[in-house]
Amino acid sequence: MSPLKQVFLIAQRDFLQRIRSRVFLISMLIIVGVVVVAGPLLAAQSAVQKPYKIGVTGTVPDNFQQAVDASAQAFDRTVTVTSYASTAEGEAALEKGDANVLLVDGNQLVWNEDPSYQLSAIVTSAVQSLERSKNIATLGLGEQEAAQLLSPEPLASRSLTAPDPSQAPKQVASYVGSILLYISILMFGQFVMLGVMEEKQSRVVEVVLSRTRPRWLLAGKVLGIGLLGVIQLVVIGGAALFTLSRANVVNVDLAGIGARVALTVLIWYLLGYALFAVLYAALGATISRQEDAQGVAFIPILAIVPGFFLSIYALEEPNAVLPHLGSIIPPFSPFVMPTRMTVTNVPTWEVALSVVLILLATYWVLRLGARIYQGSILRIGAKVKLRDALRAGSEQ
C-alpha cells in the first residue's frame, strides 16, 4: 500500500463525507441562487436610471418640455414634467416624493431637502436657453445667426489614455472575487481545522494513525477538503458566468471578464488555501474540544483579514504602496494579487515573484505545521502548547 494511495483514500473520505452533508449542499444552493438572481437585478438597476420628475406651477415658459428634454439628454438622463395647479400642491408632491424639483413661475426652484446639482443644471439650462431664444427673437436675428449664437462649436476634447468602459465591471467582478476568496479560504481552512479536531475528539485518530503516518493523514485531509473548495468555487463561478452571459452591457465583454476573474480566483485560491489549510490543520491538532477552537481560529484570521482589506484598497488604488507590497508578500498575496491582476496590468515578474514567495512560505508552513501536527495529534485533552507540540513533533 503506497502512501499516495492512502492519501487518496483519506482525501476521498473527507471529500465524500462533507459533500454529502445536507448543510453543505443547502448552503451552496443558497449561494448559487443568490448569484443567479442577484446578477440580473444588479444589472437592471445600474443599466436603467429612473427619469427625473419635474413639477411646474404658475407661469411655465413656452416649449419648456422640449427644452428640458434636450438639456437632460446632454447629461444622459430623461425627465418627466407634471403641472400642478398651485405652489402648495407642487410642494405637497415634493414632500410625497412625486416630484424631485418644483419650478415656480419659471424663475424659482423648490426642493424637498438637498438640491440635486445635476437636476438643477438640467432645469436651469433649459430655462436659460428658452430665455436666450426669446431675447434673440426680440433682437430680430435670422434663424442661422440665432442658431450660431445658441449652439456655438463645442470644444474639441481628447484623452491621453482611452477610457476603458470595462473598468467598472472589472472592479465589481474583482470585488466579488475577493469576497469569494476570503470566504473560501476562511471556510475551508476552518473545515480542515475542525476536521482535525473532531478526529482527536472522537479518538478515531489513533485508529487511523495505526495504519498510516500523521503526514499522510494531514495531506489527505487538506487535499480532500481543498477539492471541496474547488468544486464550490467552480459551481459559484459557473453560476456567475451564466448570469453575466445573460446581462447585456454595450461594449463590455462581461463574460470574458468574469471568466478571467474566475480563473484568477481559482488559481489564487489553490495557492492561498494550501498555505492556510496547513496552518489550520496544525492548529486543529493542538485542540480536542470545540471550546478551544475559537481561541486558536483567530491566529490565521490575523493574516487573512488584512489581506482582504488590502484587496479592497487595491480595487481603487492598485498601484499604491501597500497593495503593491501586499500583492507580493505572503500571506496577503493570495487576496491582493488577484485583485491587482484584474484591475491593472501587473508586470509578469511581479506575479512570478509573488507565486514563488507563496510557494516558499507554504513549504515552510508545511514543515512547521506537520511538526506541530505530529507533536500534538495524539495528545488528547487540554490544549497543547505550540512550543511543546513543536518539540514533540521533532522527535517523531
Binding site: M1, L9, R203, E206, V207, Q396
Partner: protein
C-alpha cells in the same frame, strides 16, 4: 512473531517503559497485565509507531517494524473511537482499504463482519446511532477487518456485558486459531486466565513476569490452599502459610511445606469437608509479581 526488545520511554521525569521485553508468537493469545500506569498502553503504542521509544526496538519476524508491517496488524486503542457520523459499513470498508485491501475484498470483509456481529440490518446506520455495546463491537471489527496477522487490543473487554465478553473471547480464540498472534491488556484476571496461553505482567515499566500461563503456575513457589472443617473455613495456623487478601479463607503455602501435614492438622479440629491444594491462579501470580 512480534518481539518487543528492551523498550525504554521517558516522559520528563516519568519513566513509562524501563526495558520492556517480551514476544507474541503466532497462534498464541497473550494477556498483557499490569496495574494502572504500568506502561501497557505506551508499549502497545510503540508497536504502531504512535510512540517512538527512546531506546529499544520492536521487531516483526526478525526485522524492525515499519509502516508496511503496521498494515498487517490490527489495533484497538484503549480510547475507543471511530467516525461518529459515518455509516458503519462504510467505516469497515474504509479501514479495510486503508490497510491495503482492494475495494471488493474490503466490501466482502465488511459484510462478513456485519453479519457475524448481527449488524447486517444496521449496515447503513451511523455509528453514533448504535448502542454502546454495538459501537464497541464495530470497533473490534474495524481492528480485525483486514484479517491481521497480529492483533494488539488495549482493554478489549472493558465495558462489555457478559454476553459481549463471551463473544469477544470467542472471536479472539478463532483469530488465534487462524495463526494470528494476539496480545491484549485487561484487568479482568479470571477472563485472562480463561482466554490466554501466555501472560506478560508489567509494573513500573518493567516486565516482572512473562511466559506460558500453565508453566508459570506450575513453576510458582506457592500452592493455593483452601480448607473447610465442619463446613466452616479453617485457618491453618502453621509456619509458611500466608493469608491472601483479607478474606481469611484462601491461603498460599510454600511448595516446601508438607500438604499432608496440613491436612493432618486440620483433621484434628474436626471433619474436613473440603480441601483444595492447587497451583496459584493468575490473580495470585499477579499479586505476587507486583507485590501488592
Amino acid at each position: 512473531m512480534l518481539e518487543l526488545s528492551n523498550l525504554q520511554k521517558r516522559y520528563g521525569n516519568v519513566v513509562a517503559l524501563d526495558g520492556v521485553t517480551f514476544e507474541v508468537r503466532p497462534g498464541r493469545v497473550v494477556g498483557f497485565l499490569g496495574p494502572n500506569g504500568a506502561g501497557k498502553t505506551t508499549a502497545m503504542r510503540c508497536v504502531f509507531g504512535l510512540v517512538r521509544p527512546d531506546a529499544g526496538e520492536v521487531r516483526w519476524n526478525g526485522s524492525p517494524v515499519g509502516p508496511q508491517d503496521h498494515l498487517r496488524f490490527g489495533y484497538m486503542p484503549e480510547e475507543r473511537g471511530l467516525y461518529p457520523k459515518m455509516k458503519i459499513r462504510e467505516q469497515l470498508v474504509y479501514f479495510g482499504r486503508l490497510s491495503g485491501m482492494d475495494p471488493s475484498a474490503a466490501s466482502s470483509a465488511a459484510d462478513r463482519w456485519l453479519s457475524r456481529l448481527g449488524l447486517s440490518d444496521r449496515a447503513l446506520s451511523k455509528l453514533e446511532d448504535l448502542s454502546h455495546g454495538n459501537q464497541q463491537r464495530v470497533q473490534l471489527a474495524v481492528s480485525l477487518v483486514h484479517g491481521p496477522e497480529l492483533a494488539v487490543l488495549d482493554e478489549p473487554f472493558a465495558g462489555l456485558d457478559p454476553i459481549g465478553v463471551e463473544d469477544m473471547a470467542a472471536t479472539l480464540r478463532e483469530l488465534a486459531d487462524t495463526g494470528a498472534g494476539i496480545v491484549f491488556s485487561s484487568h479482568q484476571l479470571d477472563l485472562v486466565q480463561d482466554v490466554c496461553q501466555d501472560v506478560v505482567i508489567i509494573d513500573h515499566g518493567r516486565v516482572v513476569l512473562a511466559g506460558p500461563l500453565a508453566e508459570l503456575r506450575d513453576r510458582s513457589d506457592y500452592r493455593h490452599l483452601e480448607i473447610t472443617v465442619d463446613g466452616e473455613p479453617w485457618t491453618p495456623d502453621l509456619p509458611g502459610v500466608e493469608t491472601i487478601g483479607d478474606s481469611g479463607q484462601r491461603y498460599l503455602i510454600r511448595t516446601g511445606v508438607d500438604a499432608e501435614a496440613v491436612l493432618h492438622r486440620a483433621k484434628q479440629d474436626g471433619a474436613v469437608t473440603s480441601f483444595s491444594f492447587e497451583p496459584p491462579n493468575l490473580s495470585d501470580l499477579f499479586r505476587q509479581a507486583v507485590k501488592r
